[in-house]
Amino acid sequence: MYRIVKKELLAPTLNLFEIEAPLVARKALAGQFVILRINGEGERIPLTIADFDRAGGTITCVFQEVGKTTKELGALGEGDFLQDFVGPLGLPSHVENYGSVICVGGGVGVAPVFPIARALKEAGNEVVGIIGARTKELLFWEEKMRSACSELRVTTDDGSYVRKGFVTDLLREAIEEKKNTSLCVAIGPLPMMRAVCSLTREYGLKTIVSLNSIMVDGTGMCGCCRVTVGGETKFACVDGPEFDGHLVDFEEMARRAVIYKPQEQLAVARYVENHGHNCSCSCGGGR
């Protein structure tokens, strides 16, 4: 059993957990992920590692309540236990001194991009951070990201904070300004990563994305997370989760991400019926 030692509500339905898992924390690196299961009936869901504390033996994960499992997870509090927690899985981010890099985090993607930005800066890179959210209240970790980057730029889709615009708008500006950028790392919702990649392709700027595919075992055994990269089938769990974004077949990825949508809707409806709808997301009781 793995104890939730800290819970923080970053925004409505957006939770941060610090989970006690010393053996995972001992080895965790930026870019890797964990798989957790809440209880004996639970499904195994992957979450990208947002931070780790080797001395304290904890892993930080940030998740949005979307489906039944994440809603159930969000209902847990400090001192509660997760039945299963395994990691660190996947390959860590490739970190070296590229010179100048841009790290883009959109929505929940700010969390996993943080340790990567930090590692890249520690490796000697000039790191321009770009973070964005739909609206002000959904934006989190601004200060944390500022500390991990050489420079941080912030935007909101609706203009409720700092400025109005998408992360891609800020990215274009940053690329135009910094002619010497040699790598872009972008993590966020699939449409955002796809938009980032089509932009950076114009500039020939190599872009790494992190794919949060549907997984079961997370160790290469089932092939559920397969994704086409450069015409070849890769398993996100063991070959990734990071890939060259210019080679990823996002169309296929997007289709595979909603394979179980009808089942997810059924599970959420049942969960809400049994537990009430205690989130404040104004989503009307589940999608």
Binding site: E41, D84, V86, M221, L266
Partner: protein, 472 residues
């Protein structure tokens, strides 16, 4: 009747039949198909055994069970004695009694089997093991602690057998399992209706009673690499039994469409994650009306039979050779046929066709004829040019085999592997190119059977014991 001094036995030509669930009912539930012998039937079957002095059956058993001895005890209704005898050699008798291919092992060599049906050794084994699980587990002898410690990577049949043997010899054993429950393929792969999961867990609990520690959620190669287990991890030797956990795909167009599963995923969702109980269990699975399972082995039969139970209207085995070449056990093919699984022989897909939402709607297939025997000794499939046809399906399960899971080989320095990625190990000892590291089971041989993996676990345990004693 154990000796040859008694009057010559009357030969009973046929096996006592195994009671089983009605095919029409069982194709819709996940309960065990074979129900097990009654006491009367097991005694009658045990009495068919001729108690041959030379016991030819024993040469067919990879874990060297003293078959006539345990059968003799069962014939006398001494089931406690019979299970004790079995467990001297076999740590998982309830599993083996259900899933061993006895027809190509012990029963193949049975004297009775030369002119009649062989003794149903597996069924008697199952009865004895189930008897123990129902009547309380008998304590087993464990040697005093040796002070040596062994890490076993993977808790499938090879790892569990190796762990049990080493624990009985007095070594401290820790088994590391990547998933959240131990058992490996016994839990994620073989369906509930062939091998109930509570039977697997009961046998694993017996190993815990021997003192074996089992750490779940522990992926060796990730939380620690093999070298760390040996240096600083406190282990004197490591056994790798990580199995064949890498699904092969056909490499045909459309294979990543929605509705195409590897057999591993299809079976893992169902068996390990209990997707057949969705939404009471959280893991979903999608089975359409018409399922095509590609391949002809036991895994393919398991997937096709599972598909029916999940509600598929039609479940097809699509196999590029003919019925004679099916690598699955005869009994599994028979069960599948009884339950209504259909077979498209001499057929193989060339591409998977999907709709605008990326969901599978059909497969384009090619017909084959049989040519000359190939390296496997089976007649090879030869495609018939121009024979393309379209088969409407909405779920495809690829069950054409598995390779070794690369996680441990990739992260273990100095561990020699072959071209296919299998760990190179001495089959007589399990020793690898790396001192103190042994390996066995599917990760060495490629996908095979539970009992062969168990045999490899036993072989390695002996060699590890010798290594720890400084004999080699």
């Amino acid at each position: 009747m154990t000796g040859g001094s008694k009057p010559k036995k009357t030969i009973v030509p046929k096996k006592n039949p195994m009671p089983s669930q009605d095919p029409f009912l069982r194709a819709k539930n996940f309960n065990e198909v074979a129900l097990g012998y009654t006491e009367q039937a097991v005694v009658a079957e045990a009495n068919r055994c001729l108690q041959c002095k030379n016991a030819p059956c024993r040469q067919g058993c990879p874990v060297e069970v003293d078959i006539p001895a345990f059968i003799g005890l069962a014939a006398e209704r001494d089931f406690a004695g019979a299970i004790k005898k079995l467990k001297e050699k076999n740590a998982l008798p309830a599993v083996c009694g259900r899933v061993c291919p006895q027809e190509s092992q012990c029963e193949k060599y049975c004297t009775l089997g030369k002119k009649n049906e062989p003794v149903a050794i597996g069924r008697i084994e199952r009865y004895c093991a189930d008897w123990e699980l129902a009547n309380g587990v008998l304590p087993q002898q464990v040697n005093p602690p040796t002070g040596k410690s062994v890490a076993v990577v993977g808790s499938g049949p090879a790892g569990l057998t190796c762990a049990a043997d080493l624990a009985k010899l007095g070594h401290e054993v820790t088994v590391f399992e990547a998933l959240h429950v131990p058992g490996g393929v016994l839990m994620y792969g073989i369906p509930e209706f062939r091998l109930p999961k509570k039977v697997v867990q009961a046998e694993i609990n017996n190993l815990k009673n021997l003192g074996v520690n089992i750490e779940v959620n522990a992926v060796v190669g990730k939380f620690a690499v093999v070298d760390e287990l040996l240096n600083g991890g406190g282990f004197d030797a490591v056994f790798i039994g990580t199995g064949a956990g890498l699904p092969y795909f056909m490499n045909i167009p459309g294979e990543n469409a929605c509705g195409v599963y590897s057999a591993n995923e299809f079976l893992t969702r169902t068996n390990l994650m209990k997707a057949y109980r969705f939404p009471d269990a959280d893991t979903p699975i999608r089975v359409g009306d018409k399922v095509a399972v590609l391949g002809g082995g036991n895994v393919a039969m398991d997937a096709a039979r599972t598909a029916l139970r999940l509600g598929a209207k039609e479940s097809w085995i699509v196999y590029r050779r003919s019925k004679n070449e099916l690598p699955a056990r005869h009994e599994e093919v028979e069960h599948a046929e009884e339950e209504g699984v259909k077979f498209a022989f001499l057929t193989s897909p060339t591409r998977i066709i999907y709709n605008s939402d990326y969901w599978v709607i059909a497969m384009e297939c090619l017909q084959y004829k049989l040519g000359e025997p190939d390296a496997s000794g089976r007649r090879s499939p030869v495609p018939i040019p121009g024979s393309e046809f379209v088969m409407d399906v909405d779920t495809v399960v690829v069950a054409i085999g598995q390779g070794p899971n690369p996680l441990v080989p990739r992260t273990t320095k100095g561990l020699e592997c072959n071209k296919k990625g299998n760990i190179v190990a001495d089959l007589a000892t399990g020793a690898t190119s790396k001192p103190g590291v042994f390996a066995g089971g599917d990760v060495v041989t490629g996908a095979a059977t539970v009992i062969l993996a168990m045999g490899a676990g036993r072989t390695a345990a002996k060699a590890i014991h010798a290594y720890l004693n400084g004999d080699s």
